[in-house]
Structures are given as structure tokens and as C-alpha cells.
Symmetry: C2
Subunit: 172 residues, 2 copies
DNA sequence: GGAAAACATTTTAGGCTTAAAACAATTTGG
DNA sequence: CCAAATTGTTTTAAGCCTAAAATGTTTTCC
């Protein structure tokens, strides 16, 4: 094979318009590790919530969103914050209203909008759960030093930004 | 209130048998950020798999496990690797056998065990999808430097170990 | 003002997921 | 050897979740 060919390939690789299959194994491994960590912790939290409080993780997450919003939230807000589909929120809210944890009313100014809030019961139960939940999380991350935590925060912020940019390129 | 009380509290805090509510806000924020990153990327991959190949993420994940195992795997193995429940795998496999992607047979040596493998079709389709999938992941992580990737790998390994230890303390 | 676009939510259909119980087969320890 | 424990899988009941279509409401903009 003539040497000229190698030159062309090298030029290609420098201009980033490459034919040769690039190696993305590292990123793939990173993604799998990220997924493993999340799945592991999520499963642990899910199990503890069920055992200790007989509540599901999605219900807890939804209540967590509402606890931060004194004036309530619309279903769309919740859906965006939780990064789940609208229909998912509809069902989740239905069950939490049914069990007396949420209050739901149609907005006065826009009849399309449903505003939901924690009831007194819902807030009390959530606070009780959240306090214990926080200690579980601390325990799960216990072997990380404060520096590790800072560094992870920084790198995950960068990861999030990168992923959002990439997602945005596809669906602008 | 007498000053002696403060001394006792301080001793407690040093011996780690503490009454005062410790601040775990950082770990909580870290956990939420980790979850956000994973959800974001997972949703993006899920959408692309559906649009591009009309396949669900769980099916893809299951096939990915089998692609690495030339001699097939038992349902239990798959269940552990994917970190999902046994019943979940049963249903997933059922549908993939139905669609011709998987082959399933009872083990010769232990009639409790089901061994599953990719069919020729399953392997071909998976390889086709996996190659594109790898470029998506690379793109989603594109803004991370090689050093960022290494550092994240290291910190996530530490996180995983910490979480496993904590989970093990509860369920030994 | 009114048609068209945009928005918020619900519905639908199908698949995913879990925890727990049930079932079947094998291994273990008297 | 055989009862008891363990292991691998399936079943069950309930809930979670998504994408896409449908419904009702508000805004936009001609």
C-alpha cells in the first residue's frame, strides 16, 4: 500500500472529517458506570421508602417538588422538573389526591391549568420522610470526602451541560 | 441554660454519637445532580433507539448483556447484571423470544435454569444498533476532556463502592 | 373578530417494573 | 435417605412510564 494513502488518512483525521471508526469505549464505560451508580442508589432508596414508610419513590419525588413550592405548581411544571411525561404526572397526582396528600384545583385565570399543592397531611408526612431520606443519602455517599463531593458536583454539572447541548442539537 | 450542656453536646459531636441534626445538603444535591444526568442521558438514548430502530431501551440493554456472553446467560445472571427483578427479565425475554431475537432453552444439567442467547438475527440487529448507540454516547459526553472522563470514572467507582457498602450494612 | 397556532392536560395502548407469593428442582445436613 | 433449606423461575397484583392522539382552552396575528 502506497504511503500517500496514509497521508490522506492523517489529514482526514486532523480535519475531523474522519472515515475510520473512532474509539468511544471510554465514554461508553463512563455512561455504564454512571448508570450503575444511579440504579444502585435509586434501588436502595426505593426499598427503604417502601419498607419504612410504605411509599413509592415517584410519589416521594413528586411530593419533594411540591414541598419546595409554597404556592403550588402546575402539572406541566412538575412534569418538566421531574423529567417525566405529562401523562405520568396525571396518574401520579390522581393517586396522591385520592390518598389525601395533594390538593388540586383549576387555575382561576386559565382554565387549562391545574394547580397542585401538598395538603397539611401531605406536607407533614413528606417532612418526616425527607429527614430520614437525607440521612440515607449521606450514608450512601459516606466514603466520599468533601473534596470528592465538590469534584463530582463540578464534573456532573459539566456532563449535564454537555448532554443538554447534544440533546438540543437533535431536537431544537 | 448552663454552659455544661454545651460541653456535652460538643463531646457528642466529636464522638459521632450526635443528637444535633447534621447537614447533609451537599450529598443530597450531589445525588439529585447524579440522578438528573442519568435521567437526561437515558431519556435521550431511549428516544433515539425508538426513533431510529423502533426498539425499547430495556430490550437493547438485555441484548447488550447477551452480546458479551458467547455461551448465553441464565435469567438470574441477566437479572443481576441489569439490576432488575427476576419477574422483569421473564417478561422481557418472553417478548424478545417472540420477536425472534432470543433463543431460550432449559439447561441440560439443571432443569430449573433457562439459558438464553442472541439468535443470528438478534446479534446482527444488536451490533447494528450498538455501533450507532456508541456514537450517541460519545456525542452526549463530547464536552468532557479525557481527563474529565478519567476523573469521573474514578469518583464514580468510589461512589459505587460507598453505596454498595452502605446497602450491604442494611441487607447483609 | 375569527381562523390557526400554541398550550395544558387527559386518554389510550402498550410495555416496563417491582415486591411478594407460588412453584419447581436441586443441594444440604442430619 | 430424606426433610429442610436453597435456588431459579414464573405468576400476580399493583403501579409506573412513555409516545401519540384527543380534548379543551388561550393566544396570536391577520
Amino acid at each position: 500500500m502506497p504511503a500517500a494513502n496514509d497521508c490522506i488518512e492523517m489529514l482526514d483525521s486532523e480535519t475531523k472529517a474522519v472515515e475510520t471508526p473512532e474509539d468511544h469505549a471510554d465514554e461508553l464505560r463512563l455512561w455504564l458506570r454512571l448508570l450503575t451508580c444511579t440504579t444502585l442508589i435509586e434501588g436502595e432508596v426505593r426499598g427503604r421508602l417502601r419498607q419504612r414508610f410504605d411509599v413509592t419513590l415517584p410519589r416521594f419525588d413528586l411530593m419533594a417538588q411540591l414541598d419546595k413550592a409554597a404556592d403550588g405548581m402546575t402539572l406541566s411544571d412538575v412534569s418538566k422538573r421531574m423529567m417525566v411525561s405529562n401523562g405520568n404526572v396525571t396518574g401520579l397526582v390522581e393517586r396522591l389526591v385520592e390518598s389525601g396528600h395533594l390538593d388540586r384545583r383549576t387555575s382561576e385565570t386559565d382554565r387549562r391549568v391545574q394547580v397542585i399543592r401538598l395538603t397539611k397531611l401531605g406536607r407533614a408526612e413528606f417532612r418526616r420522610m425527607a429527614s430520614e431520606h437525607e440521612t440515607w443519602i449521606a450514608d450512601l455517599f459516606a466514603d466520599l470526602t468533601p473534596k470528592d463531593v465538590r469534584e463530582l458536583m463540578r464534573l456532573l454539572a459539566k456532563t449535564k451541560a454537555s448532554a443538554q447541548k447534544s440533546a438540543g442539537r437533535r431536537r431544537p
